[in-house]
């Protein structure tokens, strides 16, 4: 049996001082697997990804998250990231005045430090980045710019994948990485995901469309609705959703 990456049990979570969004969610992901989550707008998909990565706007009220033997609930966001969790944002933020390359280097070195490893030699790091850039078909100009500042929607998504490749996490949660991408960008992003993917790690993709799944084939597809996984299946479930819509499936 392959190594377990994450085990989410009966997870309940609220918006701090607000409504309950997740209402007893269960999900288990093993190494080497690709999972896709689909679900209606407002069903809690982005909330799930933010809760996993430790966003302070949400609080877990019940349930457990086991991430590689560690209890995720007690970990700060930076610690989760350094332990190998990566979330690509549905809406990546623009941060003026923070240089993209410096940011990547900071993030990379934070992880190295956390793991008790040496910080990257700047030249080696540049080589590492160059390789990832060409895989994503990104110009190196992006490195000189400020973090996502003035990036187009598609460029922001590619930048998320670039970060993912540089940090090489154990589990990635990709929140609508495919939205707003043109055909070429979608291919580049898919190439990035497939290059990342190995037997030792796992992918959780949140998406509304089949088109990404044509390039990155999921082993499991789940439907999230009303804060719970209401249905799980193989890749054919996504096609069903595309054809039938959520109303019929939930019924």
């Amino acid at each position: 049996m392959s190594e377990q990456i994450i085990d989410i049990k009966e997870l309940k979570a609220d918006i701090v001082d607000g409504d309950q969004i997740l209402k007893g969610l269960n999900l288990k992901i093993n190494a080497g697997e690709i999972h896709a989550i689909m679900g209606p707008n407002g069903s809690g998909k982005s909330t799930l990804s933010k809760i996993l990565s430790g966003h302070p706007a949400y609080e877990i009220t019940d349930g457990a998250i086991d991430f590689q033997g560690k209890d995720l609930v007690d970990m700060e966001a930076d610690e989760r990231a350094n332990s190998g969790l990566f979330m690509a944002f549905q809406y990546p933020l623009e941060i003026a005045g923070v240089n993209n390359l410096e940011f990547l280097r900071m993030a990379y070195n934070s992880k190295q430090k956390y793991l008790g490893l040496e910080e990257a030699d700047p030249l080696d790091f540049d080589d590492l980045i160059e390789e990832k850039l060409s895989l994503l078909n990104m110009k190196s100009d992006f490195l000189d710019r400020n973090l996502n500042e003035g990036f187009s929607g598609g460029e922001k998504k590619k930048n998320e994948i670039l970060q993912m490749l540089v940090l090489n996490p154990k589990l990635v949660v990709l929140d609508e990485i495919d939205s707003g991408l043109d055909v070429d960008a979608l291919r580049a992003v898919a190439a990035g995901i497939n290059a990342y993917k190995s037997e030792g790690n796992a992918v959780l993709m949140i998406t509304h469309y089949q088109r990404l799944l044509d390039y990155v084939k999921p082993d499991f597809v789940h439907i999230l609705s009303g804060g719970k996984i209401v249905k799980s299946g193989d890749s054919s479930l996504a096609l069903e959703v595309e054809k039938e819509g959520y109303d019929l499936l939930a019924a």
Partner: protein, 454 residues
């Protein structure tokens, strides 16, 4: 009792200024005239108080409390070595140094010809005689506004200035390199620095003016700069105030912009116990543009006051103001920025933005933007924000494994970046960033950040 004490100090202050002012009159007649007028005005006005609109939020007691020994304002021996932290390699060849308000020939050096750019000492009557038009410049532009009660300290400077200089850029001369003007204080004194900067037609110069305190003793730095930009000229003036934590800085800048001239100004207040910047820009002819920026980073009990006035006196001119402040602990900031558009000044395009990042509940900001528009066909925009760091931005950095302290430092620095980028000299930008980080909350892991951020 306390009030009596205060009155006594005010009188002592006035007497000293009066006595010293009467004995330091220049031998050049138009300068002497203005100095006499200043001394007269000082005795008429008396010590200023908070009833004067521009000084509403200002606390005068540190000035009065610190014994102001006018006598010790003299040039002292300083080795260039001790200045190295404040010198920018890009300006190595063009450096003007004053020590406690006195010009230091030994520490200064210039690569340009005296013909192109002249630096004339107001004390040197012989030298001034040889330059045509100096009297006219002084009459027209020197010590403007000293009769106004809000300009009391400018009047003091005019009365007491020991070593003012005139920087004159000849018509058509464009200096590519940047000239650094370094004002050093290392005595417990009431320091007057003064300059009149004249840009001839179509000339261009970049200046970086730094105020530095070398000793951790209280002093008051009373600085005045007046500048005139003739038609088509361009002045970039970056002011870095790098005084010790005990310095009290009064700063008065007046700029006059003539046809199609361009003035880019940035004020960076990084240290000092308290600073007050009074900046007034007069756009007196068409087509001119003024770009006025400021950054202040305050912690502890420190204070910064910015009193900015941009006057659009004629048609078709533009201006923009961007002031940013970061406050922590019990710091206080005042931003008082006015845009005045005269009745005939149609086609004015003016904007003003003032942003504060307030990192502590006990810090306090008074932001007073003022638009006084008398013309009809005008584009004016202004905005002001006071806030904390964005939670989502912090989270974005944390989610990439960056520690919270580092994330806060990065974001705070990124808040400053917009203003820091206006500074033309690369090593000065780096210096400002380092200073900014030093000033930011002590809990931040600055060593790590300084190392990692360019």
């Amino acid at each position: 009792m306390q009030l009596e004490e205060k009155k006594k100090k005010e009188i002592e202050f006035l007497e000293k200024v009066f006595r010293a002012g009467s004995s330091t009159v220049s031998s050049i007649s138009p300068i002497a005239d203005k100095q006499k007028k200043a001394v007269e005005r000082i005795s008429e006005l008396g010590f200023p108080n908070r009833k004067i609109e521009d000084w509403k939020y200002y606390d005068f007691s540190p000035i009065l409390d610190n014994f102001l020994s006018l006598d010790t304002c003299k040039i002292t021996q300083i080795e260039k070595e001790s200045l190295k932290d404040f010198l920018f390699p890009e300006c190595e060849k063009n450096l003007l140094v004053t020590v406690n308000g006195h010009f230091s020939e030994k520490l200064s050096n210039f690569s340009f010809s005296k013909e192109d750019i002249s630096i004339l000492n107001f004390n040197d009557a012989e030298q001034l005689k040889n330059y045509q038009g100096v009297n006219e410049l002084v009459e027209k532009y020197f010590a403007e506004g000293i009769e106004d009660e809000s300009n009391f300290f400018k009047a003091c400077n005019t009365a007491l200035m020991s070593n003012a200089f005139l920087l004159k850029v000849k018509e058509g001369v464009q200096l590519e390199e940047t000239l650094q003007i370094l004002h050093i204080s290392n005595e417990h004194c009431f320091n007057q620095t003064r300059s009149l900067i004249h840009l001839g037609k179509n000339s261009k110069i970049n200046l970086i003016v730094t105020y530095v305190g070398l000793a951790e003793i209280p002093f008051v730095n009373n600085a005045v700069i007046e500048t005139v930009l003739e038609e088509g000229s361009e002045l970039v003036l970056d002011k870095i105030q790098d005084d010790t934590q005990k310095g009290i800085l009064l700063y008065d800048l007046k700029a006059k912009l003539l046809k199609n001239s361009r003035f880019e100004y940035s004020s960076l207040n990084l240290k000092a116990n308290s600073s007050r910047d009074k900046i007034s820009v007069d756009i007196d002819e068409e087509g001119a543009h003024a770009d006025i920026n400021g950054l202040y980073i305050l912690n502890g009990e420190r204070k910064a006051h910015n009193v900015i006035t941009v006057n659009h006196n004629v048609e078709n001119s533009t201006s923009s103001q961007l002031f940013k402040g970061i406050l922590s602990d019990r710091a206080r900031a005042e931003f008082n920025g006015a845009i005045n558009v005269a009745r005939d000044a149609n086609g004015t395009d003016a904007e003003q933005m003032n942003r504060h990042l307030v990192l502590s509940d006990e810090a306090h900001v008074d932001s007073r933007p003022q638009l006084n528009i008398l013309a009809d066909d005008v584009k004016c925009a202004h905005g002001s924000t006071i806030g904390d760091l964005e939670e989502d931005e912090i989270f974005y950095l944390l989610s990439r494994g960056i520690k919270k302290d580092d994330a806060l430092a990065m974001l705070t620095l990124s808040f400053c970046d917009e203003v820091i980028q206006k500074v033309k000299v690369e090593s000065a930008r780096q210096h400002i960033k380092n200073m900014a980080l030093e000033n930011l909350d002590t809990q931040m892991h600055k060593a790590n950040i300084v190392h990692n951020l360019r």
